[in-house]
């Protein structure tokens, strides 16, 4: 007696196998869609902006005439912003991460800080702009300065740095700490000389990713009231300034085609900056990351 009816099995399996093949194709196409869009986006921006991209574009001040305009003030402004955001956000973020991972007891308060950080990460960036407008621009009377914008951006990227640093610190094995304690080191000596050197690649990677988020962000800066058009360079952190995304936004908002090409050229400069920073992050991760 045959327990398996071969014809029936074939009849049953055939449509199911076909369905599997069909949906494999659908899923593959969906994945490729994302890559395709990325390709089109980069291709469009490159072809549109490459004509304006030259040394003169990097060295010129913004201008009403498209052929004279450049991104000098915006590029320098972006660098000023990084100079403020990097130390402030790293100091606060790494400090918080060390506290949460090494010192904090597992109690309600620690739990509250942790939940608070994950909620802060989900707050829209424009709301941070409103906070900065009230606290830094008006209450502390910093105006639309590099400092006010830098502090706002530091708070915005703080959750990213905290989470990345916490993961880096957590991945340092306990054996290292105990060996250090066994040699008579105090807790802070252990953190500073054993835990930190082991965790620094992870922290730096997270820090660079956070910094690239900060220089690509536009919305909070618009709310702070950064000028869309500025023809001079900041001399200190208390001066007015503008950044690349603001300059791109300004050019995008104009109806003429020439300004759209300028915006595309500005985007190329911004993307090159971001790619450069991300490659540093990848380089650090690959070169210094130790597996324990």
């Amino acid at each position: 007696m045959r327990l398996i009816d071969h014809a029936k099995v074939v009849n049953n399996m055939k449509p199911r196998i076909l369905k599997n093949i069909f949906f494999k194709g659908v899923f593959f196409a969906a994945t490729m869609f994302g890559l395709l869009v990325l390709g089109i986006l980069l291709y469009r921006i490159l072809t549109q902006g490459i004509g304006y991209l030259d040394l003169q574009f990097l060295q010129s001040l913004p201008s009403r005439k498209p052929e004279m305009a450049g991104v000098k003030t915006a590029l320098i402004g972006t660098i000023w912003l990084m100079v403020v955001v990097a130390p402030v956000s790293l100091l606060l973020g790494v400090g918080t991460a060390i506290y949460l991972e090494e010192y904090a007891r597992k109690n309600q308060f620690t739990n509250f800080i942790q939940i608070n950080i994950s909620n802060l990460a989900g707050v829209p960036s424009i709301v941070f702009g409103l906070l900065g407008l009230t606290v830094f621009v008006r209450a502390l009377a910093l105006g639309t300065s590099v400092l006010a914008a830098g502090l706002t951006m530091s708070l915005l990227v703080l959750p990213i740095i905290i989470v990345a640093s916490q993961e880096a610190i957590r991945s340092v094995p306990n054996d290292l700490r105990q060996a250090s304690f066994g040699m008579g080191a105090t807790k802070w000596q252990t953190i500073l000389r054993v835990v930190m050197p082991a965790a620094i690649p992870g922290i730096l990677t997270g820090g660079i990713l956070a910094l690239s988020r900060a220089i690509g962000e536009t919305a909070p800066l618009v709310v702070l009231g950064l000028p869309l058009f500025l023809a001079f360079l900041p001399k200190s952190v208390f001066d007015m300034f503008t950044v690349l995304p603001m300059q791109i936004y300004n050019w995008t908002g104009r109806p003429q085609e020439e300004f759209h090409a300028l915006a595309a050229a500005g985007i190329i400069v911004l993307l090159i900056l971001l790619i450069f920073m991300n490659s540093i992050a990848v380089f650090i991760r690959n070169k210094f990351q130790k597996r324990y």
Partner: protein
């Protein structure tokens, strides 16, 4: 008596050995003295040990203060706003005409409808594509393919939103206008689609994480019973990973609600309470941008209105984020 003498004798001999050892070493020292000296020393290192945790606690408190600052700022300024405009008008009025001096109307509904239109379009684009990518990467793709494609998809998530805004206005809108001739230059459709593209990698990446964490034994069990890979993905892996998948979708929608530059560039600035996606709209975020760019003076009703709108936006996204956390925790299945 005898044993005591032997003990002291032993101790003397031991001491002899010890002194011998110490004399032989270049520096003579006693461990007990060292410990005592160490305990008495109140040098810089011991005070650092006490100060450092306190300083670190202060940095940790900054993140709490930020949240409190956001909530406090929004509430205070929103209250000032409601001192001038009744709450009832804000919630129920059908028109948002803040710039008209004689007959200004502050009804949040048109801005909310603009935001919801864009978010809905984004979700319609992002959820199917994101889930399909996640299933492909987690169930069908080889390890090598996944390791190449996933980082590239994450590049999409790292592109600044102003770049997407430019892309929506100069590329997507013209193409859509070829297909739908009645489409206005500023509309809900184009920024909606582009926001969908922006949040797709978020859904794909987070869902893939939670689908990959479904143990292989479950897949193999289903395959052994004669299932195809498609059936395994849909009937075994997806239900097992549903908490993570749903949480990723909710988080992505929260991102879409708070997205600013894409709608500010390509969405327009005419708040209308309808479901028309081909005409110009204004979202809550785009309104805040419009006012910030103009010269609405400090202390005017328009100035305070951006805080009321910002507060509404904050409440929306907070609810979505808490919902995502709740789903991830409540419905998680541990294997």
């Amino acid at each position: 008596m005898r044993s005591a003498r032997r003990a002291s004798h032993l101790a003397m001999r031991m001491k002899g050995v010890l002194t011998l050892a110490i004399q032989n070493s270049p520096k003579s020292f006693s461990v007990q003295e060292m410990i005592a000296a160490k305990k008495q020393k109140k040098g810089p290192s011991s005070s650092i040990e006490k100060i450092v945790p306190f300083l670190l606690l202060l940095t940790a408190i900054v993140s709490v203060l930020t949240t409190l600052g956001i909530v406090f700022t929004l509430i205070v300024e929103t209250f000032t706003f409601f001192g001038r405009i009744p709450l009832q008008e804000f919630l129920t009025a059908q028109k948002w005409y803040p710039f008209s001096e004689t007959q200004g109307s502050y009804g949040i509904l048109p801005l909310v409808s603009g935001t919801l239109k864009v978010t809905l379009i984004a979700a319609i684009v992002a959820v199917p594509i994101g889930l399909a990518s996640a299933i492909f990467l987690s169930e069908y793709a080889s390890d090598r393919t996944r390791r190449i494609i996933k980082p590239i998809l994450e590049v999409l998530a790292g592109i600044p939103t102003i770049v997407y805004g430019f892309f929506a206005l100069t590329f997507v809108t013209p193409i859509l206008r070829e297909i739908i001739p009645t489409l206005e230059i500023f509309n809900a459709l184009s920024p909606g689609i582009v926001i969908g593209i922006m949040i797709t990698p978020m859904i794909a990446s987070l869902s893939e994480d939670s689908m990959s964490s479904v143990p292989n034994s479950m897949r193999e069990g289903a395959l052994a019973l004669g299932s195809t890979k498609f059936e395994v993905s849909l009937k075994v892996v997806l239900p097992a990973a549903v908490s993570g998948v749903v949480a990723s979708i909710v988080l992505a929608i929260s991102r879409a609600i708070g997205e600013t530059m894409i709608v500010a560039v390509a969405g327009g600035s005419t708040p209308n309470l309808n479901w028309d996606i081909t005409s110009s709209i204004q979202t809550m975020t785009a309104y805040i941008v419009q006012v910030s760019q103009g010269d609405a003076g400090y202390g005017t009703t328009i100035y305070y209105s951006i805080y009321a709108v910002g507060f509404t936006l904050f409440v929306f996204t907070l609810i979505m984020n808490l919902l995502a956390q709740f789903i991830a925790r409540r419905f998680r299945e541990e294997y």
